[in-house]
């Protein structure tokens, strides 16, 4: 799908983001991808969690430079600008409030007590900009409540909302969600949906509003069918491996190689019949008692073992292609290297290089909605801390160079640390062979 460059759904919208971790930054990233100018508030004294991760290979760099190196920071802050201001100082707070007057959207995902503590509560912000869309997304919502001041981290929200207990095998303790904190991403998605809806409402009426997004509630909302079933019947769903509710067989099976697997998901008897044609000669393929889903469920572990015995003689890629050609949903279980070399992801440029101040170019993942009539390319990776101080303070707020120097001297703003330093990722020499992309031609390393 060709994209029209230049036309963007959120052109002219400015977003101010005081966020940390993933949920808040990911919400701002969505808006940036659709053309909003997103300004994030940074701090050298209190860097956010993603800046603190840094890159292992950059340990010898100046600590301030290292704050710009983490791949997660590059990824989740892509497309944004950075103003490094200490919002805890009175002058810093004034700057933030002045900036709010120039913004359409404000996003904060700190604990519920933080906005008021900083003097940046919704009331103060809307006083400065009455048509502001103010999205506050703490763990447990803004209204006074039992968990109001509790700390919420992505890895704890999954367990709290019931997701971790549903992940893993019925004969063991739960495996948990693993290394991806799904509630962070789904909360970010809900925040972006709410902000966009609020923008449409503002376009029509001129009215701004406050969005109170409890990440806990936002996550529990995804479990609606299971909670409705429980309320209705008392039946409590439990973890079930890869889940056979929506068809059988549905699971992950071993293939040739160390820790290599294929996922197969038959949801109809026709798909099972197609799989049996591919597996012609295997005992399970000739077993008529397995022709319908009831029979396959009844076969249980014996069927799983039979399929595993068959798949273990195949390469995952070859078998996935064969099954798909026969109409059976299947796919390789990619490790991280597999994602990089996946032909579909390569063709769609799902992982792509974009300009980066520190690195010349750096890799990020593409914004999933591919729009025929709008450019949704993120324009750059995460910015250097304080990279846009001069432009934002000077051109937007009208502070001259002397004012800005005074703010720096007073510790109200943090200037970029060694902005002249240019770095190179350790993989730059070879990654262009994995991700063929014309944009790599412009790599300056």
């Amino acid at each position: 799908m060709g994209q029209q460059q230049g036309v963007r759904p959120l052109s002219g919208i400015r977003v101010l983001e005081l966020t940390s971790g993933i949920a808040g930054p990911a919400a701002g990233r969505h808006l940036s991808a659709m053309g909003a100018e997103v300004i994030r508030l940074d701090s050298l004294k209190r860097p956010d969690a993603l800046r603190l991760t840094g890159s292992g290979w950059a340990r010898d760099q100046h600590p301030g430079v290292r704050l710009d190196t983490g791949p997660m920071f590059s990824e989740f802050m892509a497309g944004k600008r950075s103003l490094a201001v200490d919002a805890k100082t009175p002058r810093g707070r004034d700057i933030v409030l002045q900036l709010v007057e120039h913004c359409d959207v404000f996003i904060m995902n700190m604990s519920a007590a933080v906005p008021a503590g900083l003097g940046l509560d919704a009331g103060s912000l809307l006083e400065r900009r009455p048509d502001l869309i103010c999205c506050l997304m703490p763990g447990f919502g803004m209204s006074p409540s039992r968990y109001h001041d509790y700390r919420a981290w992505g890895p704890n929200l999954g367990p709290l909302a019931g997701l971790d207990n549903l992940t893993g095998w019925p004969d063991r303790a739960q495996s948990g969600l693993g290394t991806a904190s799904c509630p962070d991403y789904t909360s970010a998605g809900h925040a972006a949906v709410a902000i966009l809806a609020a923008l449409l409402h503002r376009d029509a009426t001129g009215e701004g509003q406050v969005i109170d997004l409890s990440q806990f509630e936002s996550t529990v909302a995804l479990l609606g069918p299971l909670l409705a079933l429980y309320d209705d019947t008392g039946v409590e769903r439990e973890r079930c491996g890869n889940g056979a509710t929506f068809g059988c067989p549905r699971g992950v099976f071993p293939t040739v190689g160390d820790d290599q697997w294929i996922a197969i998901a038959c949801s109809t008897d026709d798909e099972w019949a197609a799989l049996c044609e591919v597996a012609h000669g295997e005992p399970f393929a000739a077993d008529r008692t397995l022709a319908n889903e009831t029979g396959r469920h009844a076969a249980g572990d014996a069927l799983t073992s039979g399929i595993a015995s068959w798949t273990s003689r195949w390469l995952a890629l070859e078998l996935a292609e064969l099954l798909q050609r026969s109409g059976v949903p299947a796919g390789e279980v990619h490790d991280q290297a597999g994602v990089l070399t996946d032909p579909q992801l390569r063709a769609r440029r799902t992982i792509r290089p974009v300009p980066s101040t520190r690195f010349g170019r750096d890799l990020i993942t593409a914004f999933p909605p591919r729009m025929s009539g709008a450019a949704t390319d993120l324009q750059c990776t995460g910015p250097m801390l304080g990279e846009d101080n001069d432009d934002i303070l000077g051109n937007l707020l009208g502070l001259d160079e002397d004012d800005r120097m005074q703010l720096a001297d007073d510790g109200v703003i943090d200037s970029p640390v060694h902005p002249e330093v240019r770095l190179r990722r350790p993989y730059v020499d070879w990654v262009r062979y994995v991700i063929p992309d014309p944009d790599w031609a412009g790599v300056d390393v």
Binding site: L160, T179, S218, A265, Q324
Partner: protein, 377 residues
């Protein structure tokens, strides 16, 4: 409070599982959502509650003719057509709806997207997790990879959210320019898009292959899930202050002064390697003396990020959700009521609308229009 955020927006819903949650979001935000019913939905067990939850606040039309015919007719006055599945996506594009309705936004959600060598491949939530690289890191080290909470269909929740995000952006653009557009969403892309913590970009940077680790992570301790008297709690205490608070609590509750060992203090690295096992043992000594909710509230009081590993029943009984009046009542198609989650977010000027699923499929557009005129229960 001034009404619904998406009042007047007309959505034709041809979603499958991969974007069904989008219909619920649109309806909750006040759009007029019409699902074209083609009679093949299964309605038993969890599926019955899935359908009812996802179609809350929507209307349904169908019967007598093919879904393409309904779609074409509805699209003449619609703003958005939402489509799920490979075959339907291609069929909708063959209808060339935007030729007669240039402002229309047509969004398709398919397992692998509408471009690329695998554009015709089939998939589902599990295939999305697998090919997006995140099933590989989910599960126990000695077992096959697993999809996170498979019956929740989280990958499909993501693709549905991305569909709504793209659509609302395109609607805004259409209102400014008069021109609609096509949106192509791949479930695989959506999973890759949330792999920043564990995916290929990290692997490229440090060449450390992330694998399945079960319910504890080696980054530090305590970091993961620990047994209590009635289940498990999750603790993420990587920061220095978190461990100091944990150590003091361990000593206070169990008398184990080993937790005060100076070598364990400091950042997350101080509690890795051989210290990781020791700290986990100390932590278990503590957690086993508590009920999970009791541990959660005490940990939070002490400034330690922790949470109970809740079951469906314990989520349903959570006091915070009750206190925030989170729950809603929803009428099932046969008239009985069930308790369901309420708004995923609260908007001060345009509140979420908790609707019911359609009681019946309207056989004509006239009947459909009458159903829109009926007040929600």
């Amino acid at each position: 409070v001034s009404g619904a955020a998406l009042a007047g927006l007309r959505v034709v819903d041809l979603s499958d599982d991969s974007c069904r949650y989008a219909a619920r979001l649109f309806a909750g935000l006040g759009a007029d959502v019409t699902r074209v019913h083609d009679g093949d939905e299964r309605t038993t067990g969890l599926r019955e509650h899935w359908d009812a939850y996802m179609s809350a606040g929507t209307h349904s039309v169908g019967g007598g003719r093919g879904w393409q015919s309904w779609c074409s007719e509805l699209a003449d006055t619609a703003d958005v057509v939402l489509v799920g599945g490979v075959e339907r996506a291609e069929a909708v594009h063959r209808l060339r709806l935007r030729e007669t309705r240039p402002s229309l936004v047509v969004c398709t959600v398919t397992p692998f997207g509408r471009t690329g060598p695998r554009r015709g491949w089939h998939g589902d939530d599990l295939i999305g997790w697998a090919t997006g690289g995140l099933a590989y890191t989910s599960g126990d080290p000695d077992r096959p990879p697993v999809a996170p909470a498979p019956e929740v269909q989280l990958a499909h929740s993501l693709s549905a959210q991305y569909a709504v995000i793209g659509i609302l952006g395109a609607v805004r653009q259409a209102r400014q320019t008069g021109r609609g557009q096509d949106i192509d969403i791949s479930v695989q892309d959506c999973v890759v898009a949330i792999s920043g913590e564990t995916g290929p970009l990290l692997w490229l940077d440090d060449l450390i292959m992330r694998r399945r680790v079960g319910n504890r992570r080696k980054l530090s301790a305590p970091f993961g899930q620990y047994p209590t008297r009635d289940g498990y709690v999750s603790i993420v205490a990587g920061m220095p202050a978190h461990w100091d608070a944990m150590a003091a609590w361990i000593v206070e509750r169990t008398g184990n002064e080993g937790a005060l060992d100076p070598s364990l203090r400091g950042g997350p690295q101080s509690r890795t390697g051989s210290a990781w096992d020791v700290v986990n043992l100390f932590t278990e000594e503590l957690t086993r003396t508590y009920l999970k909710q009791e541990f959660f509230e005490e940990a939070q009081r002490r400034g330690i990020p922790a949470a109970p590993v809740n079951t469906i029943a314990s989520v349903a009984a959570d006091p915070q959700l009750e206190e925030r009046s989170f729950w809603a009542r929803q009428r099932m198609p046969d008239g009985r009521y069930v308790r369901v989650p309420g708004a995923p977010f609260r908007m001060s000027a345009t509140p979420w609308r908790c609707g019911d699923p359609p009681a019946e499929v309207a056989p004509t557009l006239e009947v459909l229009r009458e159903s829109f005129a009926q007040p929600a229960s």
